[in-house]
Structures are given as C-alpha cells and as structure tokens.
C-alpha cells in the first residue's frame, strides 16, 4: 500500500490513457471488502514483478480486474438479480466496477441516498449495459448523457417517464422484440402530452393499414410509427428542430417521397433556408396526420400559406371556384404527374363521403370481397355496375342522395410532392379540356376511408362518355371531355333532318318554278 497511498502515481495504458493508482485506504476500510487482501482481488500482482502488466486500455484493465469478482460472487449469485441477469447474458456488458466502483465499492442501493434520482439511474444506465429480448435481440440501455442534457426533457426525473421505476424498485420488463419495446415505452408520452396523443389516435399513423384486411396499430399493427420513432427516446429535441429540413423525421419512412419533395419548389426553398417554405408537417400536420387524397384537407393546407390563391386564379381562370373545388392543386402544379379522375361516392344528404365501412355494412361484404361484389366482371366498373352500386345503396337506406362526385388528382402520392415553380404549372385549357386527355383513360371509383386511406376501384374508361352512366354520374361533367356520343348522333339527326327537309323543299320549288311562272304570269 506504500505506493498506492501516494496520490501522485498513475498507470499508463497502451492506448495512451492514464489512471491514478491511488487507493483511499479510509474509504476501502468502510466497504464490505475491508477484510480482503489486495491479492484477493488482484491475484496476478506478484511483488517481485509488480508493476509489470501492461493493459491496452483502462477498460481492459477494469475488465480484467472485475474477473476477480467471480472468485467470490459466482454467476448464480449475480444473475439472481433480474437486472444483472440479462446484462450478464451477453453483449458488450460493462465490468462490475463500472457500476459498483473499485476500492470504494458499494451496493448500488447504498449509493441512492447521496445522489439525485437521475444520477442514481445513470450509475448503471450511463454504462454500456443492455438487455436481451425474448426474440434474442440485444438492445442497449445506455443513455447518452450529452443527448439527455440537450433534450427538452433534461429537467425531468427518470421516473416521470419510466413510471414504476424508483431507487427502491426496478421491475424487469422483457418485450418480445425491439419494436414491441418502442411501442410500449411510447405509451408514457400520453401522460403529459395527452392532446398530442389524442391527435395521433385519430391519425393515419395510428390507424394505418396497407391493404384491405391488414390490421391497424390500434389493433396491434407494429409497422405504424409511434412517438419515439419521430421524437427519439432520451434525445427529444425542441419543436423548432422539426421545422427544419434536416430535423424532419418523416424521411425515415418516407424516403421516396422526400427525394421527390427535395427537387420540388418547396424542397428547394427549404434547402435555401427560407422559413416560409413548407415541410411535411406544414401540410400534413404533425400529429393528426390524415389521409389527404380526395379530401379537402390538402387544399386547405395549400391555401393556408397561399391565401390569395382563389383571387389570383380568378384573374385568368374561367370558373376558377369550380376548378379549385374539383381539381387537386398538385394536378396542375405537378405538371409531369400522372393524373386520373376519381369518382368519390358521396352522401349528399349527410354531405360526407360514403366510407368503406358504410359499404361493407350496407352491402354485406367484408373488405376483401368489396371489389368483386361491385365489379362483377373484373374489367373495371362500367355504367351498369355504377348504377347497380347506387341502387343497392338506395335500397339499403342511403336514399337517392347518393351520387358520385368527380375529382381530378394525381395517381401516385409521391407525385403530389413534385410541385413545380409557378411558371411550370398547367395553364392551357386544352391540356385538360380535350376528348383525348390522358387522365380521362384513368378513371377510378374512390371510396374514402380517412384517416387510413382510399380504396380505389378501377372504372372502365368509357364510363364517362356512356349514356348509361348519366344517372350515376349526374354530378360529373367536364367541358370538351365527357361528351355523350349518343347525344351527338341525335343532334345530327335533328339538324340533318331540318337541312334535308329544307333542301328537298327548295329542290322541288326550283323544279316547279317554270310551271308557276306560266300560271301566275311571271311571278314565282
């Protein structure tokens, strides 16, 4: 101890680290190890060759030294405590001394009274500890104290989020996998952020389904994001962070859309640091993210920034209000996007869309059988099938107020983000008002089911020009694009008939002119 009572001595490691070799004898005599000899824990230390060992790093030394703990504390004793058990099971676990200290060794619980709650928790969670989940995955339980200090929760006690964990009580939770772990821990956010949690519960993120038949996260679908997917765990940043391009978490899952957005007029403005440029949450909102296609939500988001859009369109666009009500902004402002006509089933009496659930209830089908029930031939809904759908709904009690409202929108959601500069927008009327416009061949019946999504049933392209669909599509008409050819033939017959009668009459008059002149003395 002569050497190790001197405060000036230190050991050097191969990586350049140095460690003081001072041992506080008084502190050591206050520990449970006070009866041990130095060589009981340092068996490799032989007076004749000490100091002789050279370790690669301080950690390597600590690990080697901690191996001595097993001489008295066997694995059974260590794993008896639940939070030792899974850290000892595998992974890059810290040495015993990292939590318990070296010569001033204490039970962790004995350290509690001298530390704040967070300091106490970080005794262990400031180390590289982790746990093994039921599926065999190992997750880190290390808290980066720098991140924590920089977060907006840096004044919170650990137990404010990790309810049930105290200095005296540390229950052991083992989740099935890391996703289950994230979802479970995100549940605590609602404790303080109940309004945001309520908004999320109404969102497409909470009620996500990817195709008919898949369950929603509200019923256990783990694929939808939860609070920590966007905000992180201990590194929760301020709201201002999410208003920057680099701070937007949506890119994690929507990378393809982000790529399109980055090249758009909004993306380029965001990259240039223009504060008014919208990010994801500007249009989709942050928590109550809903499905926007086919609804008025996206338009409301655009008009939220572009307040004078209605006035500015009225200066050059005939029937501007009509155009703005039936055409999605992206249909004209993402000029390269593929567009289509969406016939949305609408209950005019209740002034809301007829939803997928309404149809399933009324038509007695489940989600998977809805399409074959209405598109009986599988070739796209024709006029007869559209009329049949309306008739069935009327019979089932929705009344005669159900009709299809036509909308034009882009076909791919990512294209809706490819907004161009103003000069690139569609301005030529004949781009749309033409009988051979491409989008007229892409007609869909859209059954809105916000906030989750929209079910699309393909309609036969000729349905818009079919006389049989006049009843079903009585509220949809597009100048120059949805002419009924039957009407044109009728017109030809009427006008042609008039011309024929006149022509015949004139011909007979001309043929009989000579005879009339003879009878009337020169007057015809």
């Amino acid at each position: 101890m002569t050497c190790h009572l001197s405060k000036g001595l230190s050991a050097a490691f191969s990586n350049g680290e140095k460690m003081s070799v001072f041992v506080d004898g008084a502190a050591f005599r206050n520990t449970v190890h006070k009866g041990l000899q130095c060589t009981d824990c340092h068996p490799k230390t032989v007076p004749g060759t000490h100091p002789g060992s050279v370790y690669a790093s301080r950690e390597a030394f600590s690990r080697d030294a901690s191996a001595a703990c097993l001489r008295c504390h066997d694995k059974g004793q260590i794993t008896a405590k639940p939070h030792h058990a899974f850290t000892a099971a595998g992974g890059d676990v810290p040495p015993c001394t990292a939590c318990h200290g070296g010569h001033g060794i204490r039970r962790i619980s004995a350290l509690a009274s001298g530390l704040t709650e967070n300091q106490y928790c970080l005794l262990c969670h400031g180390q590289r500890i982790g746990k093994t989940l039921r599926n065999g995955d190992w997750i880190s339980l290390l808290i980066d104290t720098t991140d924590l200090a920089a977060s907006v929760h840096n004044r919170h006690a650990c137990s404010q989020c990790h309810a049930g964990y105290t200095r005296q009580r540390h229950p052991s939770a083992r989740h099935g996998d890391s996703r289950e772990h994230s979802i479970a821990l995100s549940g605590v956010c609602a404790g303080c952020h109940d309004n945001k949690a309520a908004a999320v519960r109404n969102s497409v993120h909470y009620n996500l389904y990817l195709q008919l038949g898949e369950t929603m996260i509200s019923r256990g679908n783990p694929r939808a994001p939860v609070c920590t997917d966007c905000h992180g765990f201990h590194e929760v940043g301020p709201a201002a962070l999410f208003r920057t391009l680099s701070g937007t978490p949506c890119r994690k899952c929507h990378a393809a859309v982000f790529e399109v957005y980055a090249k758009s007029v909004h993306g380029m403005a965001s990259a240039q640091g223009k504060h008014a440029a919208p990010l994801c949450s500007s249009c989709h909102f942050a928590h109550d993210i809903g499905f926007t296609a086919g609804t008025g939500k996206m338009k409301a988001a655009c008009i939220g920034c572009h307040e004078k859009v209605e006035e500015s369109h009225r200066k050059w666009l005939p029937n501007a209000d009509l155009h703005l009500s039936v055409i999605a902004c992206a249909a004209c402002h993402a000029p390269k996007a593929e567009k289509g006509i969406y016939l949305i089933l609408h209950d005019q009496a209740k002034n809301r869309p007829v939803t997928r659930e309404d149809l399933i209830d009324l038509l007695g089908a489940d989600a998977a059988k809805l399409a074959p029930l209405v598109d009986r031939h599988g070739e796209g809904l024709d006029s007869a099938e559209l009329s049949y759908m309306l008739r069935r709904l009327e019979e089932k009690g929705l009344g005669t107020g159900v009709t299809f409202l036509g909308r034009m929108d882009v076909n791919r959601y990512s294209d809706a983000h490819a907004l161009s500069l103003k000069k690139g927008a569609v301005r030529e009327c004949v781009s749309c008002h033409a009988p051979d416009a491409p989008f007229l061949k892409n007609v869909n019946v859209a059954i809105i089911n916000a906030p989750e999504g929209m079910t699309r049933l393909r309609a036969a392209p000729g349905v818009l020009k079919s006389a049989g669909a006049v009843g079903a599509l009585r509220q949809f008409y597009m100048l120059g694009g949805t002419r009924l050819s039957l009407l044109d033939w009728f017109g030809l017959a009427v006008v042609g008939g008039a011309v024929a009668v006149v022509g015949l009459h004139l011909a007979v008059r001309m043929a009989t002119a000579q005879g009339r002149r003879a009878r009337t003395g020169g007057i015809t």
């Binding site: 005939p318 029937n319 209000d321 009509l322 009500s325 005019q348 009709t403 009327c429 004949v430 008002h433 033409a434 009988p435 006049v470 599509l473 009585r474 509220q475 949809f476 008409y477 100048l479 120059g480 002419r483 009924l484 009407l487 009728f490 017109g491 009427v494 006008v495 008939g497 008039a498 011309v499 009668v501 006149v502 009459h505 004139l506 007979v508 008059r509 009989t512 005879g515 009339r516 002149r517 009878r519 009337t520 003395g521 020169g522 007057i523 015809t524």
Partner: protein, 211 residues
C-alpha cells in the same frame, strides 16, 4: 297579284321588334358557333378555348337581356297575344291550310292562305313554332346556360334540376333544336314573292301584302 296591281304596304314590325330580332339573330349565330367550338374540340379552332367560353358567356347574357326586352315590350304593349291562337278550331283549320300550302300549294303558285296584320302577324304554323321557341326553348336555353355559367354559385338549383349532367344535356338538346329552327326559319324567310321580301320587311318594318 296580277300585272298592274300595287301591293299594300303594312307596317308590321315596329323598330323595337326589328332591333330585338337582329340582335337575337346575331346572338344565336355567335352562340352556336362558339358552342360548337367548346363542345367539339377536335374541329379546327377559330379561337382559344378560353376565348370561346368568354364569348359564349358574353353573348349568352346579351341574349338574356334581349329576351327581357322582348318580353317587356310585348307585355307592356299587349301584343303578346299574337303568340297565342284566338280560337282553337280556327287555329287547327288554319294550320292544316297552311301546311297544305307549304307542302303543295306553294309549288303550284297558289296564293298564300294567310295575310299578316299587326294584330295577327303569324300564320298558324309560324305561331306554333315561335311559341315553342320564345316560351319554351329560349327560356330553357337561357336558364340552363346561366346555371352552367357558374355551377358553384348555382349548385343547389342544378341539384334540384337533376345534376349538372342533366342540365348540360338539356342545354345541348335545345341547341340542336335551335339550329334546326334556324335552318328552317332562314329558308322560310325566302318564301315571299321574292326571296328577300320578308327579310326586307324585317329591316324596314313594312311588309307588302299582296291581297
């Protein structure tokens, strides 16, 4: 008329009526041409689509104003009765006579069975045609045209009428009948003693009555 006879000149068409008639005619022609341009985009375009729509809207409202002038004039003057038959039996027999004349007698050089007077201007066939045009077709065309001019503002009446598709079909159907009427009407104006007699009367106001 025999040689040496002078026809009697009757003041048949007051100035208001003549002005209204030619304004109406101009509106009809412009509306038909622009209507064809709007509906049949595949035909050679005389103007841009937007311009056709703008001209169509303008002349549509001009037609509405002209109709209002016509209606006011005929109601206030009391002359609206010339659009209605005085007695049904006389009307039916007159119509048969007139139809015979147009289908046969005119080719033989027979005298016209009907002579216009300011109080009884239209022969029975003209009466029924003009009645349908002025009291049914034109009001229907103007009404559907106004609804189509702003389908957002007039969403409720359009809904009551059965939907925008129905309103548009009516508008197009009436336009076909209007074109047919125009073809026949222009031809019928040439059935006077000379081809331009009736047209001249609608310019000067004076019709020559060959009694």
């Amino acid at each position: 008329m025999k040689a040496g006879e002078r026809p009697e000149r009757i003041y048949l068409h007051p100035l208001v009526v003549r002005l209204w008639h030619w304004l109406n005619a101009a509106c009809f022609i412009v509306l038909i041409i622009t209507g064809i341009q709007i509906r049949y985009r595949e035909l050679p375009a005389l103007t841009e689509f937007k311009t056709s729509v703008a001209i169509h809207n303008f002349f549509g409202f001009l037609l509405l104003a002209a109709y209002a002038v016509w209606l006011l004039y005929y109601l206030l003057s009391g002359n609206i009765r010339i659009y209605f038959p005085r007695n049904i039996m006389g009307f039916i027999s007159g119509m048969l006579r007139q139809a015979r004349y147009y289908a046969y007698g005119i080719f033989k050089g027979e005298p016209a069975p009907f002579h216009s007077t300011p109080e009884d201007k239209f022969n029975p066939m003209q009466l029924i045609a003009y009645f349908f045009v002025m009291f049914l077709l034109l009001p229907l065309q103007i009404a559907t045209g106004v609804l189509l001019w702003d389908v957002v503002l007039f969403a409720r009446p359009i809904g009551l009428a059965g939907g925008i598709r129905v309103v548009d079909i009516i508008h197009v159907l009436v336009s076909f009948f209007t074109v047919a009427f125009l073809v026949v009407h222009v031809y019928m104006t040439t059935l006077g003693r000379t081809p331009l007699e009736h047209i001249r009367a609608m310019l000067t106001g004076y019709e020559e009555d060959h009694v």
